[in-house]
């Protein structure tokens, strides 16, 4: 190194590049890597912790739910709507023209068994809980759910029909363990 160094100093300035330029660049790059390397774990600390992630599934017993009745269960701190739909509601959901939907999805894509509609009960606009779970709640213009915050109307398949919400109500991952037991998450 000692022998080559003076040589480089003599030739480089003519080309407009010096050892110092290289050192500044290299040190700057290492500095940037270090900043990112430190920032990454610090930012990651704000993500969900292990215990929050561990609570990521819930089992629901379907047997007490009558036809036309809904229940709300908690999953990941959010309400999940579980509804045993009436034949009329299934019919209504299945016969909608997809061209009328802001977020086109068929009813079959949204349910595993037609009578059981299971979805996250959080309005996709700004996260309010839509009304329509209890008897006497307003259910909107499409007989499904109605969000009172900014007036989003959802149909009997939980699809957005009118209002500011951009998406249909989310469908969580779930599986039927048997005819009366379902695991969400």
């Amino acid at each position: 190194m000692a022998e080559t160094a003076p040589e480089a100093e003599q030739t480089s300035p003519a080309e407009g590049e010096t050892r110092r330029d290289f050192l500044v660049l290299a040190a700057g790059a290492m500095g940037a890597v270090a900043v990112v390397g430190i920032a990454w774990p610090l930012i990651e600390t704000m993500n969900p912790s292990a215990d929050v992630l561990a609570l990521a599934s819930a089992e629901v017993d379907l047997s007490p739910i009558e036809v036309g009745q809904s229940i709300t269960v908690m999953w990941r701190g959010k309400p999940v709507f579980v509804r045993q739909r009436t034949p009329a509601e299934i019919e209504q959901a299945a016969t909608v023209d997809l061209a009328d939907l802001p977020h086109p999805e068929t009813d079959e894509e949204r349910v595993q068994r037609a009578e059981w509609l299971i979805m996250v009960g959080v309005c996709t606009h700004l996260g309010c809980i839509p009304l329509g779970q209890k008897l006497g709640d307003p259910r909107g213009d499409f007989d499904g759910w109605f969000c009172p915050c900014h007036g989003s109307h959802y149909d009997t398949s939980g699809r957005i029909r009118v209002g500011p919400a951009p998406r249909n109500l989310d469908i969580p991952e779930y599986q039927f363990l048997n005819d009366t037991l379902v695991r969400i998450g």
Partner: protein, 417 residues
């Protein structure tokens, strides 16, 4: 102006090492201030006082509050019922937030009316807008801490605004929550940031004042200080004038704290947070115009962008308004549109307080369109076509002419007695 040399030996010892006495004298006592400032110029120091009130009450509240979902609501009630003078602390802090916004909004509109954002005070203005944004963040996170119904749902709705960001929106919201919904991790980080932000505000206030004292105050005439005759020392003239403002402000604050402590709050926030039941959500009064703008746009992302733009556009005011004349006193057209704009902001606030139905939707959209048109179309056009009235020669000439007598002010007497 006299540069006081401290007589006290200890003070001299300090002054030699850190010139704090001459600095204080130059910035707070002899500091040359335009002699024609009116009461609208009180609001900067009033804002400073409110910041101190919030810091003081906040630090004391933090000694009794517990940031945990199962204890936050109860610890707030503990402060109200058990802590000595706890009710006073909390009511001062909650109503102090509103008072702070009253003062800041008047301060902001004062700047818009008298052109205080114009060269060479652009940076001063920018720091002010950053302070406003930090205040909004602090106010929002502070409102979440009592963990009542409105706290919880305000947190849910406002953090969900971020989910409108394309592609990474949901990841971003999960990161911000520290979970899959607003929950304990969200509360603790909001508490931490609510404690941090005021100190960031203090740092920005320092920059704001540095820029102010470097270029000195604007004034109702909007013309620069040209000679020492245009100025009077800050103390005792404006320290005294500010005291009048303090008195009035604390009188108003006291009316709210002692007689109407919950008038500006929502009753439903005295119900503990329930993640399964959304109440009717209304923001605090100081966010109503922004809320109206959010709802005026029938698209989620568009609404969020419009709401943010409504604040961010203030940054550009120095460059949108190219008029050489600062003060609206000499700008006959700008002056009228200033009042129209102020009225538009009030209309937005009124729309924001009402449900988005019927004619409120149309009014909200028109008022939102006008809000942006004011900045993007009206202000630049006025700057181009308006003929301003003639400016006075200097501040002291204008002041003395108005005072009736042509006698030159005894300049020496106007200095510190």
């Amino acid at each position: 102006m006299s540069t006081p040399v401290p007589r006290n030996r200890l003070a001299q010892w300090i002054e030699y090492r850190l010139p704090i006495f001459s600095w204080t004298n130059a910035q707070l006592i002899d500091y040359p201030t335009p002699r024609n400032l009116n009461y609208w110029w009180n609001f900067g120091s009033l804002a400073g006082v409110m910041l101190v009130v919030q810091l003081l009450t906040g630090v004391l509240l933090a000694m009794h509050y517990t940031p945990h979902v199962s204890m936050a609501f109860d610890s707030t009630e503990h402060i109200m019922r058990n802590v000595e003078w706890g009710w006073l602390l909390r009511y001062l802090h909650a109503n102090g937030g509103s008072m702070f916004f009253v003062v800041i909004y008047i301060h902001l509109f004062r700047g818009l009316y008298y052109g205080s954002y114009k060269a060479p005070r652009e940076l001063l203005w920018l720091f002010g807008v950053v302070i406003l944004m930090l205040m909004m963040g602090s106010a929002f996170m502070g409102y979440v801490l009592p963990w009542g119904q409105m706290s919880f749902w305000a947190a849910t709705v406002i953090t969900n605004l971020l989910s409108a960001v394309p592609w990474i929106g949901d990841t971003l919201v999960t990161w911000l929550w520290g979970g899959f919904s607003v929950d304990n991790p969200t509360l603790t980080r909001f508490y931490s940031l609510h404690y941090l932000f005021p100190f960031l505000i203090v740092a920005l206030v320092f920059l704001h004042l540095w820029a102010l004292h470097h270029r000195k105050s604007n004034n109702p005439l909007g013309i620069e200080i040209k000679s020492p005759k245009d100025t009077i020392p800050f103390h005792p003239y404006y320290t005294a004038k500010d005291m009048v403002g303090f008195g009035v402000m604390f009188f108003v604050l006291a009316i709210f704290v002692f007689y109407l402590p919950n008038m500006l709050g929502e009753v439903i926030n005295y119900v503990p947070a329930d993640p399964l039941r959304t109440p009717h959500i209304v923001p605090e009064w100081y966010f109503l115009p922004h809320y109206a703008i959010l709802r005026a746009v029938p698209d989620k992302l568009g609404g969020v962008v419009a709401m943010l733009a409504a604040v961010v556009i203030l940054f550009f005011m120095p460059w949108l308004d190219n008029s050489k004349v600062r003060s609206a006193r000499f700008r006959p057209i700008y002056k009228q549109f200033f009042w129209v704009f102020l009225a538009d902001c009030v209309v937005l606030g009124w729309v924001g307080a009402n449900p988005p139905a019927g004619s409120f939707i149309l009014i909200g959209r028109l008022a939102t369109a006008y809000y942006f048109a004011h900045f993007i179309i009206i202000v630049p056009l006025i700057a181009r076509f308006e003929r301003p009235r003639a400016l006075p020669e200097s501040i002291h000439q204008a002041v003395l002419k108005k005072g009736g007598g042509g006698e030159p002010a005894p300049a020496a007497k106007m200095e510190r007695p």
